[in-house]
C-alpha cells in the first residue's frame, strides 16, 4: 500500500537550498521509502537525497507530489506535505536569503 499526498510550493524561489535541507532531513526520519515528483505520473525521485531534490529545481507555484511506502507511510506523507504547506516554517523576511 502506498500513501500519496500533494502540496503547493509557495516559497518565493521554489524548493531552494534551505527548504530542501529541511525537507530531506524530515524525510530521513521516516523508515518508509519516500519519493517526490512535480507531476502525478512522475518521474519520481528519492526524497531523502538533497542532491536529487535540488537537481529537480522545483519552482514556486509547482505542485509537489509526495508518495511513501512502508510502515510509517501515512505519517511520512502527511508530515512532509504539512511542511510544504507551512512554507517550510520560513519567515517572509528570510525569503530573499539562502
Amino acid at each position: 500500500m502506498t500513501v500519496q499526498q500533494h502540496a503547493l510550493i509557495t516559497h518565493q524561489v521554489g524548493l531552494h537550498a534551505r527548504p530542501s535541507v529541511k525537507f530531506t532531513k524530515l524525510a530521513k526520519t521516516f523508515a518508509s521509502r519516500i519519493e517526490i515528483a512535480t507531476a502525478e505520473d512522475g518521474p519520481w525521485i528519492d526524497a531523502k537525497s538533497i542532491v536529487k531534490v535540488m537537481a529537480m529545481k522545483v519552482p514556486e507555484g509547482a505542485t509537489l507530489f509526495i508518495r511513501a511506502d512502508g510502515d510509517d507511510e501515512t505519517l511520512a506523507a502527511s508530515a512532509l506535505a504539512a511542511l510544504v504547506a507551512r512554507d517550510f516554517d520560513e519567515d517572509a523576511k528570510h525569503a530573499g536569503a539562502a
Binding site: 537550498a17 519552482p59 507555484g61 525569503a95 536569503a97 539562502a98
Partner: protein, 531 residues
C-alpha cells in the same frame, strides 16, 4: 608604471575599497596521483568526503544566520551518497578518485549553470565549493590564503573561501559571478564592497587598485586623478550615509513636533530587499506596471508579487495601485494608440473599458488582501462613477472567490488625486477610503505643461501656488472628513519641496526609498502649524 585600466561591472554590494590586486588561480589545480587500485581509490574518496564533512561542520559551529544556513546546505550535499556513488562508478571504470569526483561535480555544476532560474543557476558556486573542498582533502593541498586588505579578482568566489577570509579594508570583483549568489548576499550583509561581471580583461597581480562598487568600476594602476576622484566619492558617500542614517531609523517629526508618516514608493517587489521595514511607515505606492512589461500577467504571478511585499511589510500598510497603463506606459494587447495619450484612455479608464483584463488583477489583489495590511488605489479617477464601477467589479470577483472557497478579503479602495476635477471637489469622492496625490500628473494637468519636456520645466513645477493650493484643499477636506491623504509624487522625495507640502497640510508622504534619510532630515528641520 603600467597605464591605468578601468573595468566596469555590476554592483553586488555597494562600497569602496582600495588595495593591491590579488588574482585568484583560475581553477583548482590537482596534483593527485592515483594508486591504480579501485578499492584504494574508492576508500580515498570516502576518506576525503568524511574530512570535508568534518571541516564544514567545524565552520558551521562558528557561523551564524545565513552563513550557517549556507554551510548547512553544503554539509547536507557532501553527506548525500549520490555523488559518491556516481564517482565510485567512474572509479570502477578505471579513473582515479580526483578525476572521478571532478567529473561528477562538473557535470552537476553544468546542469545548474544552464538553469534559466537565476536562483538555481547561482547554486553552481556552492557545488564548486564542495568540489574544491573535497579535492583539497584528497590531495592534501591547502587552498592559498588570501592576504588581508587586497582586492580579490577571480572567476567566481566560493562561500567557504569568502567566509574564511577577513575582508576588512578589502573587497572583491568577479569576472563572472552573479548578484543573486550566496556570496553576493553575504557580501551585502557584511558590507564587503563587491562587483560581479567585470569580464575577462587581463590584469596584473599586485598593482594598486580602486574598487568602486557603488558606481560599478574597478581601476587597476590608477592615475593620481583617478585616486582623487575615488577618494572624493568615498568621502561623500560616507558623509551622506552618516547624515541620513541619523534620521532614517527614527520616526519622522517636524521641528515643532508634528508626527509625519513617511512611506516608500516601490516599482517591483525586489525593491524591498534594500529597505529596512523599520525605516518607513509602510508602502504608499506599489506600482504594478512591471507585471505588464512583457504582456498581460496571470493571476498567480500577480498574487505572488503582492504577497511578497505584504509579508515584507510586517503588518504595516501597503498601498497597491491598480495598473496605470496608457499615457507613457503602453502595454501590448491592452492599451490603445492615441494621438494625445496623457488625456486619453489610461489608468482606471482603460481598466473599466477592459473589465476582463482588470478582473485578473482584482482577483489577485483580493487573494493577497488576507496576507497583510493591503489598501488598493485607483489611478486617473476623474468622476465618482469610476470608483463605484471599480467597487462593483471588486465585489463581483470577491463573491466568485468566496463561492469557490478561495481565501480573500475586500481591501479599502482609495483613489489617486491627479485630475484637477478631483483636487477641486474632493467632497464628491467621499466614498473613497483614502486619497493619494499624484503630484507629477496633477502638476502637468494644472499647468498644461508636459512633465517630460525639458523646455517646459519652468512651468511644470509642483511648487506653483496653484498646485499647492489644490494640495491644501484636499488635505484640509481629508482632515475634516476623516479620510487619510498622502502624496506619492516626486515632489515628496525632494528635501526642498517636502516642507512646503507639510505646510500645505499633508502629514503623510510616500517617497523613494533612497531618500528616506534625506527627507526625514528635512522634515526634522521644518516647522508646520499644528493641523
Amino acid at each position: 608604471m603600467p597605464a591605468p585600466l578601468r573595468l566596469s561591472g555590476q554592483t553586488a554590494s555597494a562600497g569602496y575599497a582600495r588595495g593591491p590586486l590579488w588574482l585568484a588561480p583560475s581553477r583548482t589545480e590537482t596534483h593527485y596521483r592515483g594508486s591504480g587500485d579501485v578499492n584504494r581509490e574508492s576508500s580515498a574518496l570516502a576518506n576525503a568526503l568524511e574530512k570535508a564533512s568534518a571541516a564544514t561542520a567545524e565552520l558551521i559551529a562558528s557561523a551564524e544566520g545565513d552563513a550557517a544556513d549556507i554551510l548547512e546546505f553544503q554539509l547536507a550535499m557532501i553527506e548525500d551518497d549520490t555523488f559518491r556513488v556516481s564517482a565510485n562508478g567512474r572509479i570502477a571504470g578505471g579513473e582515479d578518485a580526483a578525476t572521478a569526483w571532478t567529473a561528477v561535480l562538473d557535470a552537476e555544476i553544468a546542469g545548474y549553470e544552464a538553469s534559466d532560474d537565476a536562483y538555481f543557476a547561482a547554486r553552481a558556486a556552492d557545488l564548486a565549493d564542495i568540489r574544491d573542498r573535497v579535492l583539497s582533502m584528497l590531495t592534501g593541498e591547502k587552498a592559498g590564503v588570501i592576504p588581508a586588505g587586497v582586492i580579490y579578482v577571480g572567476d567566481d568566489i566560493t562561500p567557504s573561501v569568502f567566509l574564511a577570509h577577513d575582508w576588512t579594508g578589502g573587497g572583491f570583483a568577479l569576472r563572472h559571478g552573479s548578484a543573486t549568489g550566496h556570496v553576493a548576499m553575504l557580501a551585502r550583509q557584511r558590507g564587503v564592497p563587491a562587483l560581479v561581471a567585470i569580464g575577462d580583461a587581463p590584469l596584473e597581480a599586485g598593482v594598486d587598485s580602486l574598487l568602486d562598487a557603488s558606481t560599478g568600476s574597478l581601476t587597476a594602476s590608477p592615475a593620481p586623478q583617478d585616486i582623487a576622484e575615488f577618494e572624493a566619492g568615498r568621502q561623500s558617500s560616507v558623509e551622506r550615509a552618516a547624515f541620513a542614517a541619523q534620521y532614517a531609523a527614527r520616526p519622522a517629526r517636524t521641528a515643532d513636533g508634528a508626527p509625519i508618516d513617511v512611506l516608500v514608493n516601490i516599482a517591483e517587489p525586489s525593491d524591498t530587499a534594500s529597505i529596512p521595514i523599520a525605516h518607513c511607515d509602510g508602502v504608499g505606492l506599489m506600482r504594478t506596471e512591471f507585471l505588464y512589461a512583457h504582456g498581460l500577467p496571470d493571476e498567480d504571478t500577480q498574487y505572488a508579487a503582492y504577497r511578497t511585499v505584504l509579508e515584507w511589510a510586517e503588518g504595516k500598510p501597503v498601498t497597491i495601485r491598480t495598473v496605470d497603463a496608457g499615457g507613457d506606459k503602453p502595454v501590448p494587447g491592452f492599451t490603445v494608440d492615441e494621438s494625445n495619450p496623457f488625456l486619453g484612455l489610461r489608468g482606471i479608464r482603460l481598466c473599466l473599458a477592459k473589465p476582463d483584463i482588470f478582473a485578473v488583477q482584482i482577483r489577485a489583489l483580493l487573494r493577497a488582501a488576507v496576507r497583510g495590511n493591503l489598501k488598493v488605489m485607483l489611478p486617473m479617477v476623474s468622476v465618482p462613477e469610476e470608483l463605484e464601477q471599480a467597487r462593483t467589479l471588486f465585489r463581483a470577483e470577491a463573491d466568485k472567490l468566496e463561492r469557490a472557497g478561495i481565501p480573500c478579503a475586500m481591501p479599502p479602495l482609495g483613489i489617486m488625486v491627479e485630475v484637477p476635477s478631483v483636487a477641486i471637489r474632493p467632497d464628491l469622492f467621499a466614498a473613497a477610503a483614502f486619497f493619494s496625490i499624484g503630484s507629477n500628473d496633477l502638476t502637468q494637468y494644472v499647468m498644461a505643461a508636459s512633465r517630460d519636456s525639458a523646455k517646459l520645466s519652468a512651468l511644470a513645477r509642483p511648487d506653483h501656488p496653484a498646485v499647492l493650493e489644490l494640495v491644501r484643499r484636499v488635505a484640509q477636506w481629508g482632515d475634516e472628513n476623516g479620510r487619510p491623504v498622502s502624496l506619492c509624487g516626486d515632489a515628496a522625495s525632494d528635501p526642498a519641496l517636502a516642507p512646503l507640502l507639510l505646510k500645505s497640510g499633508l502629514r503623510s508622504l510616500s517617497i523613494a526609498a533612497s531618500r528616506i534619510g534625506a527627507v526625514k532630515a528635512a522634515i526634522a528641520n521644518a516647522e508646520v502649524a499644528a493641523p
